[in-house]
Structure formats: structure tokens, C-alpha cells
């Protein structure tokens, strides 16, 4: 993993290449269609925000990108999604490997009932990213620093992760995802359980993570989308209504539905 702080502007600018490409994605739960013909390009080293009213399919689409929908028995996905040009729904692709490359942070903090240290070391250990204790220590510290949690927990790494406060738990979950060194980080309403201070910390963190990964964030807060993202996708009733630069979406929405959602008339 590269150091967050030493990346140059030039490198960030080089992230204009497409990381995840979705074409005509449809998702069904049983007979019910939750996503209709969604096509979207997610750029490398960019924060993409998914916004839209509740139940419009943001989480569903997000879960397609790391195939977490596979764990829901009734769900069925069609269409094409590629990661670095590789079809992630191809027969010979191992979803377990895919999820190591596409990390996920959930709406509700879900630390494992293990120590803080073991929570963060979980991913690196199962993927064989660390060989010995010293390496694990280093990875854990780096991930906790990246998640802006290190200073608060450096003296209590062996305490259970569940003993942290909600905001700390969420940052722990982010550290846990970051430690696995993913290429894409999916975040489903990561701040919905957090207070404004913790939210600000997480947003800062997202901005820092952008230097290394491509981040996709689902949020209900317009301000948050405007603050952290460069690209925004607006979903409505399972359709991708509008996708473009965040500035454009928030200042010059093309679709009337986008405009009324942003101005608070539908939601």
C-alpha cells in the first residue's frame, strides 16, 4: 500500500481510467425487479456517490459490484459488470477473490466479536498478505492510521472491537476493509449511525482514501455527496436517472426528477 500523503497531484489526475464498468445491469429479487438496465462507469481514484430515494436500489446495485447479492437466495443478476475489463460474473471468476479486491463497509458497524487487532488483521491473514507478527503489526497500524482511529485505540488493541463507540466501530470497519488492500471500496451509508464529528472524520478519510482506491458511497445526505464525491449517480425506482460530475448534477441537473429530488421535492 502506498502512503496516503506522498501521492502527487499528477498521479491523482492519472486516475481517469475506468475501474468498474456496468452495462445493462438488471437485478431481480424473485419476480420483483429492483434494478433496471443500469449502465455506469466508475473511475479509478474517484469518489462516486449514489443518491436517490429509499428503496430505489442503491444498496442492491452496490452489492452487485462485489457479488454480495450472491448471498441472497432469491436474487438474480443479469447484464455485464467488469473490473479492470474482466467480467466479474464470469464462470471462472472466484467471488471470494473478487471481494478481496472490492471491499465493503456496511451501513451498520459490524465489528467481529474479536479484539480490535484481530478485527483489522482478519482480512490480511485469510488472504496471506502477512507472513509474521511484525508484518501484521505494521499492516494493522497502517490501516488504523488510514481510518483515523490509531490514536484512539493504540493502547487498547486487545480489547474487543464491540467495546468501541458506534463511530469508532464504523472507523474500525473501514480500517478492516482497508487492511485487505482492496482496489475498490464500497460504502453503504457509512455515516448514517454517526454523529457530525465522526461523520466529518469519515468524510475526511474518504477523501484521503481516494488517493489510493476508487470509492463508491451510498448516501442520503446531499451535502455529503456534494462534499466528498466527484461523480454522482441518481437512482430512482430502480433506474439510473442521471450520472455525471457531482458539480453538474447539483448545479445543472438535466432530468427534472433529479432536480426535484435534490431540491427536496421527492424523497
Amino acid at each position: 500500500m502506498m502512503n496516503v500523503m506522498t501521492r502527487t497531484e499528477a498521479e491523482v489526475g492519472a486516475g481517469e481510467q475506468i475501474k468498474v464498468e456496468a452495462r445493462d445491469v438488471n437485478v431481480f429479487y424473485g419476480d420483483k425487479q429492483a434494478i433496471r438496465d443500469v449502465s455506469v462507469d466508475i473511475l479509478d481514484r474517484t469518489v462516486t456517490a449514489f443518491i436517490g430515494p429509499s428503496g430505489c436500489g442503491k444498496s442492491t446495485f452496490l452489492r452487485c459490484i462485489n457479488r454480495m447479492n450472491d448471498t441472497i437466495d432469491s436474487s438474480r443478476v443479469s447484464g455485464l459488470i467488469t473490473l479492470d475489463g474482466q467480467d466479474i460474473y464470469a464462470r471462472d471468476l472466484d467471488p471470494v477473490q473478487l471481494r478481496a479486491r472490492v471491499g465493503m463497509v456496511f451501513q451498520k458497524p459490524n465489528p467481529f466479536p474479536k479484539s480490535i487487532y484481530d478485527n483489522v488483521a482478519y482480512g490480511p491473514r485469510i488472504h496471506g498478505l502477512v507472513r509474521d507478527k511484525a508484518e501484521t503489526d505494521a499492516v494493522v497500524e497502517r490501516a488504523l492510521r488510514d481510518a483515523a482511529l490509531w490514536d484512539e485505540v493504540r493502547d487498547r488493541l486487545q480489547e474487543p472491537g464491540t467495546s468501541l463507540s458506534g463511530g469508532q466501530q464504523q472507523r474500525l470497519c473501514i480500517a478492516r476493509a482497508v487492511a485487505t488492500q482492496p482496489e475498490v471500496l464500497l460504502m453503504d451509508e457509512p455515516c448514517s449511525a454517526l454523529d457530525p464529528i465522526a461523520t466529518a472524520q469519515v468524510e475526511e478519510l474518504i477523501d484521503a482514501l481516494r488517493q489510493e482506491f476508487s470509492v463508491v458511497i451510498v448516501t442520503h445526505s446531499m451535502q455529503q455527496a456534494a462534499r466528498v464525491s466527484q461523480k454522482t449517480a441518481f437512482f430512482h425506482l430502480g433506474n439510473l436517472v442521471e450520472f455525471g460530475d457531482t458539480d453538474d448534477i447539483f448545479t445543472r441537473p438535466k432530468d427534472p426528477r433529479t432536480e426535484s429530488y435534490i431540491s427536496g421535492r421527492i424523497g
Binding site: M68, Q97, R99, N110, P113, K114, I126, H127
Partner: protein, 458 residues
């Protein structure tokens, strides 16, 4: 008489209900708002009539025979019972009772016939007395409850209080029964310990409860050291647990995490059937199938195998415990929040990594509680070991030997002609007390663990 009493009780309660309800409805149609619904006024009357009357009938049923018998025996001609021991008196009582019931054998003494007649007439009178008292009681209750009907009367709370009292008394009955059972165990054990020193019982390594049956019979002094019996129990329990825990856990994990819904729909009921098989049937299985198979296997390998091995009994007990452990582990695993599963999978863990590294550790307290409960069931299990384990108490931990268990010994000590004042039979109570203490300790521990883990995720 009793049938009539119950019929009256039924009719009176219904009447009380209707009367009070009607009265309450009348108040309401008069335009006043009632505190309680009319139905509650009715119910209040119903309970007030029924509960005391029911208690009266029950009390009467218990006391009437005793009192009448006492009266009859006291009314016998003076001097008839003089010099007879209690056994003979009981015999006379029984004879009078059977004559009164119309079963006359031979030609009884005239004073017995007279006593029987007295008994019959007393019973007839007692019946009428019951009906009279009952009528009075119910009438009083009816009048009283009717007088309470008014707009402000809180019949709703009244009903609640009565029902609360009923529930409380049920709970108290359960507690009293438990205490009574424990006390009887303790007292009989104390009698045993007055004959056999506690230290000999607790630390003795010989268990030979064969006592001379007649005073002149030549036989060895009995030995009452429970250690070999305890050891036998532990051997069988250990065998049962070591076999059943891995199988039960694996099946729970498979069913919970890997099995398709279709497989689960078939496998779960089958496990439940396994749990529903009577233990006596497991006993057959142990004797007829497992034990001979073990002996044959032993013979083929050249290992001496006793006919009643601890392995056979423990193995069959393990089969009995599998569904128990499996369903406990299943519940514990299912109680782990889905978010933990998703969190692990989203980090790129496989399903088995998720199970072993996240779900299983999270579920361990619940599973441990289940296993402990299974242990206490194994220790207390009786039928399988009575049929499949041996009778000889030996100091061994070899599962291929024949061992005996606490429960088996209790059964053999108490079966057949027994007197409840020899150490042989009283030893059964001491064993029972120990068994009770051991399982109680395990259960308390298990419930503690289970409760602690429930708190974790609620």
C-alpha cells in the same frame, strides 16, 4: 354427589357471570360510563364464585375419607382394637372399607358389618353437608359480587388480581413440590449416612451393596464407596459426549451454513424424529445391534470386549444426544447477526472461513451451554444404561470394559422386594442426592453461560 357439586359450581358461576354482566349493562344503558367493561364485571363474579368453591370441593375430597375413617374406628365397640399392632388395625380398616363398598368375603364379625353401615351413612350425610355448605358459599359469593357492581367499581383490576393470585399459587405449588422432593432425598440420605459414614461413601473405592437379606444369612458386609459408580458414569458420559459433540456441531454447521433449503427441509425433521425416539428403544438398539457388533469387531481384532461395554452404552447415548446438541448449536449459530456473516464474506472470506473464524467463536457461549446441558442429560440418562451397561462396579476407565452408572445402581437397588430401612435401599437415595447435586451444578453453569450470551446480541 361430587358430580352434582361440580354441576352446581358450573351453573352458579355462569349465573354469576350473567347476572353481573346484565347489571353492568343496565348501568351503562342508564347513561353512566362504566370504569370496566361489562364482561369484566361478569368475569369478576364468575371467578369469585368458582375459585373458593373449587377449593372447598378439593379440600373436602381430600379430608372426607380420612375424617370418616377416624370416626368409624373410634366408634368401634370399646376394646376391639386393644393390643393390636398398626398392621392389624390397617387390615381391619381395609376390611370395613371393602364391606362398605359392597364386597363381602365370608361372614364377617357383626361389629364389622355395623361399622361398615355406619361408614355408609356417614358418607351419605357428608355428601349432603358438602352440597349445603357449597350452596351457602356460592350464594354468598354471588350476592357479594353482585353488590359490588357499580359504575366506579374496577372489575378489570379485580379480575386481574384474582388471576394473578391463581398464577402465583400455581408457581408456589411447583416450588413446594421441588422442595419436597429435595427434602425427601436429603432426609433419606441422612438416614443412610447414619448407617454408613459419609467419608466411606464419598471416598470409598468399593461398591458392593449386596447385604444379607435375612439376619442369619451368611454374606459379605456391603461396601458403599461411590467412586467406581461415579467413574462408570463419567466413562459413559465422556464416550457419549466425545462422539455426539463433533457430529452434532458439524451437522448444525452444515445445516445452517451450507445446506440447500431443500436438504434442510428434509434433514431437520429427521433430526427431530431422532430426538423423539423413546430411550427404551435406544436401549434395544444398544443391546441387539451395537453391543454384538462391537464384540464381533473386538474378536476380529483380537481385543477383549466385555458383553456390556461402556462404549456401546455411551455410543448409543451419543446418538440420542446428537439432535439435542445439533439443535442448540443451530440456534446459537442462527442467532449470530447476519451482518457479521456479511462482513466476513465481504472481506473475501470463504464460507468455511466465515464459519470457523467468525460465526463459531461468536456462537461458542451458546454452544457451550448446550453441550453442558447435554452432559447433564447424559449423566442422568437411565433407560439406555439400565439396558446396555453392566451391573458390576469396577474401577476402570477403559470404555471396552463393563461399567455401571449411578442411575443403574439406583434402579437395581430399588427394584424387587425392598425394605426402606436397610443401607442397601437407602444407598439409592444417597446416590440420587449426589446425582441431583451434580446435574444441578452443571445446569446452573449452563444456564448462566446461555444467559450471558443471550445478552450479548439482544
Amino acid at each position: 354427589m361430587i358430580a352434582i357439586a361440580f354441576l352446581m359450581l358450573f351453573l352458579a358461576s355462569i349465573t354469576g357471570y350473567l347476572v353481573n354482566r346484565q347489571a353492568a349493562l343496565a348501568i351503562r344503558s342508564g347513561g353512566t360510563r362504566l370504569h370496566s367493561l361489562a364482561g369484566f364485571h361478569g368475569l369478576y363474579s364468575l371467578l369469585l364464585i368458582m375459585v373458593p368453591a373449587l377449593l372447598l370441593i378439593l379440600l373436602w375430597l381430600v379430608l372426607q375419607p380420612v375424617v370418616i375413617e377416624r370416626m368409624v374406628m373410634n366408634g368401634l365397640p370399646a376394646g376391639t382394637l386393644e393390643g393390636l399392632d398398626s398392621g392389624a388395625v390397617q387390615l381391619i380398616q381395609a376390611e370395613i372399607r371393602s364391606i362398605a363398598g359392597g364386597r363381602v368375603f365370608g361372614t364377617p364379625d357383626p361389629w364389622k358389618l355395623e361399622a361398615a353401615e355406619r361408614m355408609n351413612s356417614l358418607q351419605g350425610r357428608a355428601g349432603w353437608l358438602l352440597l349445603t355448605v357449597l350452596t351457602g358459599l356460592m350464594a354468598a359469593a354471588l350476592v357479594f359480587s353482585r353488590s359490588r357492581v357499580s359504575a366506579e367499581f374496577r372489575a378489570r383490576q379485580g379480575v386481574e388480581r384474582i388471576v394473578l393470585g391463581l398464577m402465583l399459587s400455581c408457581a408456589v405449588v411447583a416450588i413446594f413440590v421441588t422442595v419436597g422432593i429435595v427434602l425427601s432425598l436429603v432426609f433419606e440420605s441422612l438416614r443412610f449416612f447414619s448407617m454408613v459414614p459419609v467419608t466411606e461413601f464419598l471416598f470409598g473405592t468399593r461398591w458392593e451393596p449386596q447385604m444379607p437379606i435375612r439376619a442369619d444369612q451368611v454374606a459379605a458386609e456391603g461396601a458403599f464407596g461411590w467412586i467406581p459408580v461415579l467413574l462408570g458414569t463419567l466413562v459413559i458420559t465422556v464416550v457419549a459426549i466425545t462422539i455426539s459433540v463433533p457430529i452434532g456441531l458439524m451437522s448444525a454447521i452444515y445445516l445452517n451454513e451450507f445446506a440447500s433449503t431443500r436438504f434442510r427441509a428434509v434433514a431437520k425433521p429427521i433430526l427431530e424424529i431422532l430426538a423423539g425416539i423413546p430411550t427404551v428403544v435406544y436401549g434395544f438398539f444398544a443391546i441387539l445391534t451395537v453391543a454384538p457388533a462391537l464384540r464381533a469387531a473386538g474378536a476380529a481384532l483380537g481385543i477383549p470386549v466385555a458383553p456390556n461395554t461402556a462404549l456401546a452404552a455411551g455410543g448409543v447415548m451419543a446418538i440420542m444426544l446428537i439432535p439435542f446438541i445439533s439443535s442448540f448449536a443451530d440456534d446459537a449459530l442462527a442467532a449470530v447477526p447476519r451482518s457479521l456473516r456479511d462482513g466476513s464474506l465481504a472481506l473475501g472470506a470463504t464460507r468455511s472461513e466465515t464459519v470457523t473464524k467468525v460465526l463459531f467463536p461468536a456462537a461458542i457461549p451458546g454452544i457451550a451451554g448446550g453441550v453442558l446441558l447435554a452432559v447433564s442429560r447424559a449423566i442422568g440418562e437411565t433407560m439406555i444404561v439400565v439396558m446396555a451397561a453392566g451391573l458390576m462396579a469396577s474401577m476402570t476407565i477403559n470404555p471396552l470394559d463393563s461399567v455401571t452408572t449411578i442411575t443403574v445402581q439406583i434402579v437395581t437397588l430399588l427394584v424387587g422386594d425392598t425394605e426402606f430401612d436397610s443401607p442397601k435401599t437407602l444407598a439409592a437415595f444417597a446416590l440420587g442426592l449426589m446425582l441431583f447435586l451434580v446435574t444441578l451444578a452443571i445446569n446452573i453453569l449452563a444456564l448462566r453461560i446461555v444467559r450471558k450470551y443471550r445478552e450479548l446480541y439482544d
